[in-house]
Subunit: 359 residues, 2 copies
């Protein structure tokens, strides 16, 4: 029987609850498909700070690196945007984890499920059938660029500054993943930049065009980031596969998640050239509902499916999980974030049980 | 009688059509209110390149600087995102114009009019009553930061790079405008940054907090840009006044414009510490419909109203124009971009005539 080592990083808030459910789902699909999972649970975020004073302990990163794939719950113990010191360190731990695993390609599918089409704040006819894949570069750009910091300019003014920088190889490798992805989907790739203003973007565009020669069957288009932010609201169906840099990807993928109206449903995969990938729901740690059995575990379950497919090449097992999630929704089970009249309101654990049943 | 010098920059595409209509509206409101306007029409963009080979001629910038206010149509002769060389230069001319006039505060109101509430791709209950003001810093940030360009890194890799940088005084002055604006509105200001990752953003946040001490009556909150991109779609009514940097403002204000669904309706004002402001519709030059009398002139007419109010302090004349626009919509006149069944479809000129009639 095949066997894989999976690092589980439950993290903070609702993280432990959703990871525990996803673990059960992996175990069951494994026993059906003849796959064994060895789980190694490690601390990260606020939980790690309580134990060791650091948000990404050396042992956690080492364990993650040595495993076949990493499944993360959520990080951050305080309410989003409050900028507590703890939270800042937690956010930094996520950047270190991504950098440490060198997961440069972040895949974020945005799929509007017929069962949940009414969850969106956008009109039904606008979102019905939306199926797009955003590929965000994840280990470069202004997130990691140097020099950065505080200082004074030539006139003695106090300043704060960062550097947006891309090297050719960084663009080329994420572009190739994007072209490969587009090829397996509709064959259309839209690269998003701000090449009318930024040299870093102009360089991005030139490299993407250079790489496009290797993929003559994929139709490449370009769009400016401001226009893209509009078009995602105006007519999201025009997009299939999108590739963009780290900072624009941060903004646009979160905006795009709202097309579905159900952030509790959205998984993500972050892939390296070699070595384990990092898989995580896109929602945060939701400290306000932590420990109350209210979280929606489906985004983490679907992240586990991405782990199987993109991380381990176990496509059959991944498909099984995705079908089980759809079946569970078809049977009317809903956590509170996606609940609508006429359905059955359940908690995190019960939702997990129902997915197991569907499996 | 009062008299003002107004520089008109019709520019490219539909620019000349909408400027010509707005000029008539200014003339009429001037004669009603006892204000004289002296118009000085100057070339910019592709139109200027035909004449002189440069997209922002020295004489145009000088004329603009010497006038009391500047009204711009649109710039760029080719379809958005095509990246023709001409278009790149046209975009650069806009940056030079903003830099030359030192208009550091860009005010972009996003108002959902009851008459047009169905134009949005967002559900009626989500957008009904939305009334927000986005203040975007316009002459700093990664748009103007140095060093920038192309080169090689320490490992010999080809790179493209830009610098995001803010000086304290740049943040302070736009923050003050934002606090003043919020004070006149609901008293709530939301500052948007990425302070969990960027030093430039952390510095932004610190300065905004420092300035907030001068405005104890205004309630200040902070939000990360990725979250803001979500919240604008999820629940735009939670916002009143927003202040943000140049690049985030570029993205978020375009996204927010889609809340209304009618980009042909949205004006903007860009203000300097002293000297003339720059007023322009937020839509582009729309070369596909240029010269066909199809453009919606209302965004430019409303920009003329902002010119009167924010540029010249002629609040009464501004209010008259705004009321005339509402009245024209109430009487059922619509250009094709905002047309819906049961209304009267008109062209650019006729829409202008109807606004004059309402006046
Ligand atoms: C927490 C933060 C550092 C992170 C980012 O900006 O990348 C988050 O917003 C995300 O998108 O995963
Ligand atoms: C044309 C371009 C340079 C400009 C910008 O990015 O500022 C435009 O998008 C805008 O928002 O006015």
């Amino acid at each position: 029987a095949k066997s894989y080592n999976i690092t589980l990083l439950p993290g903070d808030g609702i993280g432990p609850e959703v990871i525990s459910v996803a673990k059960n789902v992996l175990n069951l699909v494994g026993s059906i498909q003849g796959i064994e999972f060895k789980f190694n649970e490690m601390p990260i975020g606020g939980a790690a700070m309580d134990l060791s004073g650091v948000s990404l302990p050396e042992e956690t990163l080492t364990a993650a690196k040595q495993s076949d794939a990493v499944l993360l719950g959520a990080i951050g113990r305080y309410k989003w945007d409050k900028m507590e010191r703890h939270d800042l360190k937690a956010d930094t731990s996520l950047l270190h984890l991504r950098g440490g695993l060198k997961v440069f390609a972040n895949l974020r599918p945005v799929l509007v499920l017929p069962q949940l089409v009414d969850s969106s704040t956008l009109k039904k006819e606008v979102v019905e059938g939306v199926d797009l894949m955003i590929i965000r570069e994840l280990t470069g750009d202004i997130y990691f660029g140097k020099p950065k910091g505080y200082g004074t300019d030539e006139n003695g003014n106090e300043i704060g500054f960062n550097t947006e920088v891309y090297a050719a190889y960084e663009i080329d490798r994420v572009a190739r993943i994007a072209f490969e992805t587009a090829r397996k989907r509709s064959g259309k790739l839209c690269s998003i930049d701000k090449a009318n203003v930024l040299e870093a973007s102009m360089f991005w565009r030139k490299r993407v065009i250079a790489i496009s020669v290797e993929y003559p069957d994929v139709e490449l288009s370009h769009m400016f980031v401001d226009n893209a932010a509009m078009q995602l609201v105006r007519n999201p169906k025009q997009f299939d596969t999108i590739v963009t840099n780290n900072i624009f990807g941060d903004i646009l993928s979160d905006e795009a998640s709202m097309i579905t109206g159900s952030i509790g449903m959205l998984p993500s995969a972050s892939l390296a050239a070699s070595g384990p990938g990092l898989f995580e729901p896109i929602h945060g740690s939701a400290p306000d509902i932590a420990g109350q059995d209210k979280a929606n575990p489906l985004a983490t379950i679907l992240s586990a499916a991405m782990l199987l497919k993109h991380g381990l090449g176990e496509k059959k097992a991944a498909d099984r999980i995705e079908l089980a999630v759809l079946n569970t929704l078809d049977r009317g089970f809903r956590t509170s974030d996606i609940y609508s009249l006429g359905n059955k309101l359940v908690g995190c654990k019960e939702m997990g049980e129902q997915v197991l049943k569907s499996l």
